[in-house]
Amino acid sequence: MRSLIVNKKTNLGFALYCLLAFSGFAGADAEQGLDYQSMVQRDINDFKAYYKTRFPKIEFSEYKNGVYAIDADSREQWLEMEDFPPYEFAVDEGEALFAVRFANGKTYADCFANGGEGIRQNYPYFDNKKGQVISLELAINDCRETNGEQPLAYKKGPMAALSAYMASTSAGNVFAVAVANKEAYQAYLEGKKFFYAKRGQLNFSCADCHMLVSGQKLRADITGPALGHPTGFPVYRGKWQEMGTLHRRYAGCNKNIRAMPLPLQGRAYRNLEYFQSVMSQGLEINGPSSRK
């Protein structure tokens, strides 16, 4: 009976998927001095190979476009939407916010490398001193707080606008998130574990929907590939009728499977973003973008 559902292609995919899900964890207590980046590179290669098997005709560079990379029908509507980008307003708003001086006379540009321009692809990174993953949004609030300003909410609004503007100045730059040492690798592994773990009343993992059944229909929705997930964020989403950050989407996917959504920009989601961004190595930043 099972042959009814799984064709040869998905079977092969499934085998690869199992390999992916369980590779790497043994390395959790690996010693200092190991070449973490090349261990991670093996995961990256496997991850890419998985999608190459699933969608042999799709160019790697296309994965920056989320579900529209693999679903021709919704792609057309999306391209029409992108003709009058609904996120343009947020980019302008973000640019204006970015230029505002804090009460102490400093600006965001003082907090970031290269005045904050063209740097989106370097986030999130593992901060050795702080011992944790720093995402762009967390860095924005760090900047505000060190300059005596109140932090912004992480879901949407001004934070999404700032993030959108900073992404827009980085368009075409390629994701370059590294895993350089043991602590960074630990954070990476935590993100990886989160990605493959079953959770919620409905008992789904991220990988269930975004790898195993990616490209198939769940009701009327087609789930896109996880490869390239962070590239286009933040996004203007039709369903939200406004901008939203990557972590807003994480929380949404958690709620959909009746799992407790976790705090936006808490450690768990930042580690998850770290893992997803490492997996997206080599893809272009093309945020902000629009989604159904």
């Binding site: 009976m1 009343q201 409905l202 008992n203 789904f204 195993l212 229909k217 769940l218 009327a220």
Partner: protein, 121 residues
């Protein structure tokens, strides 16, 4: 009466039995279960089975699981069908089908009603 309750139906069936005799009320109870089962199967907040399975009469159906048809033929043992819905992991550990019974998405009675409905497909 959205949710089928075995006990309630039993009581009703017994009471009816007093008046009409056996046979008819049992049939009646079963058809109520089938109806309730269909509602549960299609309800997005309950079974939401259509998100993965094609079922005759459904709309916006998913393609993740096999089409649900000829269930009596495919599951001559009703208990096996019940187990598949109650916790699909028993048969396939890595399944993505939610464990409806074990995770209390549906109660035992509700799984029973869904199975009654599936048997009509």
């Amino acid at each position: 009466m959205l949710y089928f309750n075995k006990k309630m139906i039993k009581i009703t069936a017994c009471l009816m039995g007093l008046f009409i005799g056996t046979g008819i009320p049992v049939l009646w109870a079963e058809s109520r279960a089938v109806e309730a089962g269909k509602v549960l199967t299609f309800d997005r907040k309950k079974g939401n089975c259509l998100s993965c399975h094609v079922i005759a009469g459904g709309t916006l159906m998913g393609t993740t699981g096999p089409p649900l048809m000829m269930m009596k033929l495919r599951f001559p043992d009703k208990e096996k069908l019940y187990k598949q819905v109650f916790d699909a992991r028993k048969r396939n550990q890595k399944t993505i089908m939610p464990p409806f019974g074990s995770h209390a998405i549906l109660s035992k009675e509700e799984v029973g009603a869904v199975v009654e409905y599936l048997y009509t497909l």
